[in-house]
């Protein structure tokens, strides 16, 4: 277990686990590194990646990493398990997820109300995509027992699943969405990459992509966290002031191995989700809790005991902006 301590040897050494470093919704992580903003802050940040969200949080709790770039809703989930995790920089107020319907089913599934009897894909059972799918369905009058949820993963397996009819529709992010749309294999049914789209679909904001850290670490290393926030907020500013092509050009070449235009398009499509200041909107956080309390087995029935104030802080983003 000694490997655990090595990371935090010097206080400027920070390990951050990204729940899929190549997902466009988590783009600020790698971009900050590429732009050199961590170095500018005097930080020595090591980015790790891991495809399944839950493992990322586990490494955070066990202390292997100091921060995770992932979905905000996990902080609520974990609080019900007695863990204090707090979002320090909120990249977006919307999930950035898209419900895509397969080309073959596009004329039959026109809205979530048509989900009945369908096979709907999500990245993983119990993940945010699962909860959002359930929310979309129930909000449109389809009980969660009336459709079949299918784990379809992300990337190629998702594309193949939709293409081969393994799922009729499914929730995923860019670049998978861009890939599906550009090849005509899928059509966007519900777009939660913009504030308007999200409000239309969910009736409110649903903040997702964020950097969260262990509460105790945040308290003990306010300076480091502040530097991280500075870097990330600066990156958010960069994202908002540059075109998709310019951003894509900053990213490592092999992130665009699937095709340069495709990558640029994914960034372009997803870009609107990122906010400018890295601050959490209180209304968004409440909305997330609302969704989770209906569908998450952990949060169900515990809504009142959740202290939202502990799940995020704008303290650092405020300073970074100011």
């Amino acid at each position: 277990r000694d490997s655990r301590d090595t990371g935090s040897g010097a206080s400027t050494d920070v390990k951050i686990m990204v729940g899929g470093i190549d997902k466009v919704i988590y783009l600020p992580a790698k971009l900050t590194e590429q732009l050199g903003y961590f170095k500018d802050q005097g930080l020595n940040v090591q980015l790790l990646t891991e495809p399944a969200g839950a493992t990322a949080e586990n490494t955070l709790i066990s202390g292997d990493v100091q921060g995770v770039v992932g979905f905000y809703d996990h902080t609520i989930d974990l609080q019900t398990k007695g863990k204090c995790i707090t979002s320090v920089v909120q990249f977006a107020d919307v999930p950035g997820e898209v419900e895509v319907v397969g080309a073959a089913q596009a004329d039959k599934i026109k809205s979530p109300a048509d989900f009945k009897g369908r096979k709907l894909g999500f990245t993983s059972p119990g993940s945010s995509t699962d909860f959002l799918t359930q929310y979309l369905a129930t909000k449109n009058g389809v009980a969660t027992t009336e459709y079949t949820g299918v784990k379809a993963g992300a990337g190629q397996t998702f594309v193949a699943a939709l293409d081969q009819g393994g799922i009729d529709a499914g929730m995923t992010t860019d670049p998978t969405v861009a890939q599906l749309v550009s090849t005509g294999k899928g059509k966007v049914l519900v777009d939660m990459r913009t504030v308007e789209g999200t409000k239309a679909a969910l009736g409110g904001l649903y903040p997702a992509s964020s950097l969260y850290m262990d509460c105790k670490y945040v308290n003990d290393h306010k300076d480091v966290v502040q530097k991280l926030a500075n870097a990330f907020v600066k990156t958010l500013g960069f994202v908002n002031s540059h075109s998709a092509e310019e951003i894509a050009a900053k990213m490592p070449a092999d992130f665009a191995n699937g095709g340069k235009e495709l990558y640029a398009k994914s960034i372009n499509d997803t870009k609107p989700m990122f906010n400018r200041d890295g601050k959490m909107k209180a209304e968004g956080a409440r909305n997330v809790l609302d969704v989770l309390s209906q569908f998450s087995p952990n949060v169900k029935g515990r809504k009142d005991s959740v202290d939202l104030a502990k799940t995020y802080t704008t303290e650092f983003a405020d300073k970074a902006a100011g």
């Binding site: 399944a52 969200g53 839950a54 493992t55 949080e57 586990n58 709790i61 066990s62 989930d77 974990l78 398990k81 007695g82 863990k83 096979k119 993983s124 059972p125 119990g126 993940s127 699962d130 079949t148 949820g149 299918v150 784990k151 379809a152 993963g153 190629q156 397996t157 193949a160 699943a161 081969q164 009819g165 393994g166 799922i167 998450s296 087995p297 952990n298």
Partner: protein, 294 residues
């Protein structure tokens, strides 16, 4: 005295008269005593392990990661009494079991047949060996993802993953087993008039049996792993999905409970394979002299 000398008159007397029968009886009871002892040690170990897990999870280590036996047990009771969020636990088990069983049977068959063929043909094995070894080095999770592309999200992609895992485990043993065959026996069979094919079925296959069986012991475990890995990659039912769900919802009790269910299935399969082994290898000299002697 036709057919008599095998059990000499004295021996028959021993078997008939009550007093001397004592010997076999006492052997049987010794066997029973031994079994009792083994089971009680096993039980003690399990209790010790569960106990120390429970205690340390209560006092020292974080049950968030490690869960504890009582919560795992609770989760199992839940699953079996009120079902899982994906439906009845029996259904999940049957799905995973079907996938694993199909992959196991196909993989074992293919492994045995190819292993023995290549083991006996030097030209074939020289040509194919590097390809098979190369294929064996391909990470199975990558393959699982490819199988989803090739075979879709249905059962077939899980069966394919299980197949691949089982195939290689069995293949290498069948191959070596076919090579290790006593040359004397092969020569003798050839002299007695066996065709190449007969040598294969009557000499090579029985000789390689203990090799093949050794690999089958671990192979069903592999088949289950294959099914679970396949389900991790994409599925709508199955134990793998159940574990995956537990993982995403930070339900470590669910992870361990899922693992226990899989393990129990594997042990049942193992028990069947052991029974098969006993049947197939009954010609062997018993390993423990205790068994041979009466």
């Amino acid at each position: 005295m036709r057919g008599e000398p095998d059990v000499s008159p004295e021996a028959s007397a021993v078997l008939a008269a009550p007093a001397p029968v004592r010997a076999p009886v006492s052997v049987a009871s010794a066997v029973r005593r031994r079994r009792m002892k083994i089971w009680s040690i096993r039980l003690a170990l399990v209790v010790l392990w569960l106990g120390s897990w429970e205690v340390s999870a209560t006092y020292w280590i974080d049950p968030f990661f490690y869960s504890k036996p009582s919560s795992v047990w609770q989760r199992l009771v839940d699953w079996f009494s009120s079902g899982t969020s994906q439906g009845s636990i029996w259904e999940q088990m049957s799905v995973t079991l079907q996938e694993a069983a199909a992959g196991f049977v196909l993989g074992a068959l293919a492994g045995v047949v190819l292993g023995i063929l290549l083991g006996r043909s030097h030209l074939l094995s020289d040509i194919c060996a590097p390809f098979i070894k190369a294929a064996n080095a391909v990470p199975r999770i990558v393959l699982a993802a490819l199988f989803v592309l090739w075979f879709g999200l249905g059962m077939s992609s899980k069966i394919a993953t299980a197949f691949v895992l089982v195939f290689f485990a069995v293949f290498f043993n069948a191959f070596q087993g076919a090579r290790e065959v006593d040359r004397n026996l092969v020569n003798n069979a050839r002299i007695l008039g066996a065709s190449r094919f007969q040598v294969l079925t009557t000499i090579v296959v029985p000789s390689a049996t203990s090799w093949i069986l050794a690999s089958l012991h671990s192979a069903f475990g592999f088949a289950l792993i294959g099914a679970v890995v396949g389900e991790f990659t994409g599925a709508d039912r199955g134990l793998g999905l159940l574990i995956d769900r537990s993982r995403s919802t930070f339900d470590s009790a669910g992870i361990y409970a899922g693992m226990i269910v899989i393990t129990v299935i594997a042990l049942l399969a193992e028990w069947l394979i052991t029974a098969l082994e006993k049947r197939l290898l009954k010609w062997r000299p018993p390993a423990a002299s205790a068994e041979a002697q009466i």
